[in-house]
Amino acid sequence: MSWPILTVTLLVPLVGALLVLALPAQRGRAIRLVLVGVTALTLGLTCVLLVAYLAVPSAAASRLTGSANGQSLSGIHSPVTFQFQEQVSWVQSGPSLSHLHAAFNEGNSAFNQASPPPINFSYHLGVDGMSIWLLALAALLFLVAAVVLSKRQERLRSFAALMLLSEVGVIGVLTSLDLILFYFFWEAALIPLYFLMIGWGDERRGRAALKFIIYTVAGSLFMLLAIIGVYFVTGAQTGVYTFDVPTLIAAQAFVETTHATSFSLFGHSFALLNPQDWLFLAFALAFAIKVPLVPFHSWLPDAYSSGRTPFLVFFAGIVSKLGAFGFIRYNLTLFPQASHTFQPLLMGLATASILYGALAALAQSDIKRVVAYASISHLGFVVLGIFALNVNGLNGAIIQMVNHGIVIAALFICVGVVEARFGTRNLRELGGLAKPMPVLAGLFLVATLAGLGMPLLNSFVGEFLILLGSFQVSPVWAVLASLGVILACWYMLRLYQGLTQGDLRLPGPDGVPQVLQGVAGRLGRVDVGPVEVAALVPLVALMILVGVFPAPVIHLGRFSAAQYVQAANRPTATNPAQASARGLTAPGGAP
């Protein structure tokens, strides 16, 4: 690709945000038009990217041969290949990257340990077979959110601009190939999200936003520490001081993990776990909070129940996937050995999330909180698949991330419509809505069935592969996770039946549910409008399409899954010579 398509994809929403801000605030229609146009353009660009990715000869070739080398930056091989790379130096305080690679190829540390190592980081973008799917999902969900966004939304202009800025952040997280750049986008994306949370939503939004941001940033600050740690640990052992992700992934093959390097804490050295383990845990903490896994989940129900629907479409749909994305992209590749060390821990937390989320969803009467806890349960599956550390599990996780994004967005739109029409989220005050809202009930049914993993709908594919993968690790995980599937039927149908079946029940004036019979006509037009249908139909169509024809999706995800599994299963070596003896590609053909 001769033009920097990723940078363009990144810039389109940014320019869109500026454009929106340039419009007068009262021009609601124009603002909405620009918003939809910009998000549609972004989606178009990611589709071009997707098509081009499939058409790139090298990728196709390596996909056909099944080998996973090809990524090269002056001869260093990373098991994970990235396409459409763009790299511009950002901050450079020492030898350039090519010098670093030269030093790496010489297999020794070229730096005088007394002098501070250079701090280099670059604007480095690229995609692989996993992130490209998430990129497409992100673009789709932002478009859906733009469509759902009512032009009567208060302070529409700010909302639209912040939404587009969030999109910049999300795309940046998904495409960045430099740890500093990644962290930069990871945190920067929180700023518009924070403003969206405090500006719009129910009366408890302030507390929810603060909780969300403090949880997330507390986690990611440790990740920042770990990023610096990776830089120095890798640098000290291989002579490559860099934040560049492909280089770091490649370099991990030469990072020794058996002997703990002790850090001094006021003169005391502690070496409980080796540095790789600590770094792994710091990264895992940040991602586990973002996903969220169970002990770190308590921000989620508040955030999800207080937000507005358009916000939730992309917040629940894509932002939570960034945690899972981080697990795959960084934890598996940068800390292969630690990934295995902590496999039981992470799988245990994932299983706990599945079961806890499911049980908590059963106990909720707030319809948004039901969906929120359902989301925790579903994301538990994704993490379970990731830490199965085999191709099936990872493939399932990648597919399930995309599926969950589609399903959760649809569910939030449906639930949001109900809340907007009747002013309550209490399941006990609502019922029998299928009569006045037949179209919603139909679309909602598909989303519900997809959410509980019905065969022939999309989630089934992902969940099946994840269960397959976790069974390969140990049947125990698969059995426990299957319980989650059973519970999913229960809480999803409880939500659906409670809302749509039975007698028509609406909140009365004094808060007591009012049972109405045969008066559906008196409610007037409460069913979904053309806007909601326009947003829901593509999502529902995708659910059915992926469910009926899963083969292409599975095959595309498999290639990337195989690469990541290879990255995670690399034996670590104490020196390059040993590495090549184990059949690994030594950098630059070193002896």
């Binding site: 950002w90 901050v91 450079q92 305080s93 002098s115 501070p116 190592p117 701090i119 500093i180 962290y183 930069f184 986008f185 990871w186 945190e187 920067a188 929180l190 700023i191 924070y194 403003f195 405090i198 500006g199 009366e203 939004r205 302030g206 507390r207 936003a209 603060l210 941001i213 403090i214 940033v217 507390a218 600050l221 440790f222 920042l224 520490l225 610096i228 740690g229 830089y231 120095f232 850090f263 001094s264 804490l265 006021f266 003169g267």
Partner: protein, 518 residues
Amino acid sequence: MIGAQVGAAVPWLPLHFVPASDLLGILPILIVGGGAVVVLLADLVVPRRGGPLLATLTGVVLLAALGTAVGQWAANAAHPVVFDGSYANDRFTLFADFVILATALAVVGLSPGYLRRRGLEEGEYYILLLASVAGMLVLDGALNLIVIFLGIELLSIPLYVLAGFARDDKKSQEGAMKYLLLGGFASAFLLYGMALLYGETGHTSLTAIHAVLLRGATAGQFDPMILAGIGLLVVGLAFKVSAAPFHWWTPDVYQGSPAVVTTFMSVATKVAAFAVFLRLFSATLAPYRSEWEIPVAVVAIISMIYGNLVAVAQTSVKRLLAYSGIAQAGYVMIGVAVGRPDGTQAALFYLAAYAFMNTGAFAVVTLLSRRGEDCDRYSQLAGLSRREPLLAGLMALFMLSLAGFPLTVGFFGKLFLFSAAIHDGQLSLAIWGILTSAVSLFYYLRVILLMYAPGEDVLETQEMEVAGVSPEGSAVAARSTASPAVLVVALAGFGTILLGVFPALIYTLLQGISVVHG
């Protein structure tokens, strides 16, 4: 007849006064000091209420000094040490000069409108400001204990007066008195520390002291008197940079002083004091590093913990910023504790970043201040996004930057500091920095929450009610008379973002800066 005798005894030609190179080396100080005299004379001839004119004159003086410093940086003089090794005009000094002079310029931009609103228009304000700046410039290049003390006093005494500049405001008076008394204590500690150093080494020159210490340290001997001296120096300097546990004056003085003075005090003083801190500890006292490393690290950690935790409980904007300033001093102390070139560079970068974000935050407070009182209560910030969208947006930006979010310069400041600490093996410093940064989010983001979602603050519901009746349009009235002030805030915001995206603009300047020593 006397003239003839003198003529016979003194070789009139060539005139040998101080060598020109020496004078060139302290040219920025001479400009600022001379400028103070010029402003003082101008104050005598301009009519009353000539504030803007004096402000312009002060601005010109500061600009001239800044221009000189930039020119000297560009010229890259071969012999940066002047006056027999008692003052260094090296890049380290010049960088600190940039930050100090730029901050002072910003303060001068904020002042006329603010002083008029608060009814404090006196020419002495600008004279004292310039005198204090001169003291800072002396301090940041001082290579001699005497010069250090001279600089400290020259910067402090005008500040004592400035802190109490609001003569009819009891809080201002209280702050000034506390600052004077505790400042006197700190000076005494500093002086005692210097006396011990001098007594044991027999030198006041930092270079000579360094040589003596190096000889002792390589022989494995650590003189207890020198250790005591270093301890007293830490106390005195920690007071000046308001690091805990020597910070007790900070909240009261910051809250009481007029907002423009607080702006100046919180940024420029800190930069100057950290300059001498860094010079002393990363160069002069480096041989004793094994001895002072832990106390300095402990001061850093206590500052980070105490500042951030106590800031959470504040309900006054200026006190919040004061405690946040204590915490920020703790972060910069990481750079001091690391001590090596990368620590020094990281500390300098952070100070530059701090100058942008903290000046900006205080400038917003300045702009929101009305007649008779400063914008200090949280309620005065409530709903600011509706009343003053631009100021609210910029304030949010400064808060995010102080909290260390990416896209703002504060992020890179912390990144460089933490990586310096980790590279030095001082993991505990980085971990405490990370933990307390997480705590700091709470109060920084609460300010944003307050501005953007009134009635939403979970902790300040009572105050919110007051907000409903707070008079609107205060800052709108200010805006018309304070366009340079708005420019200052906007520039600070611009710098915060620009450096947040392109940190290399400053970071490359810092490459190769290490402390010149004799």
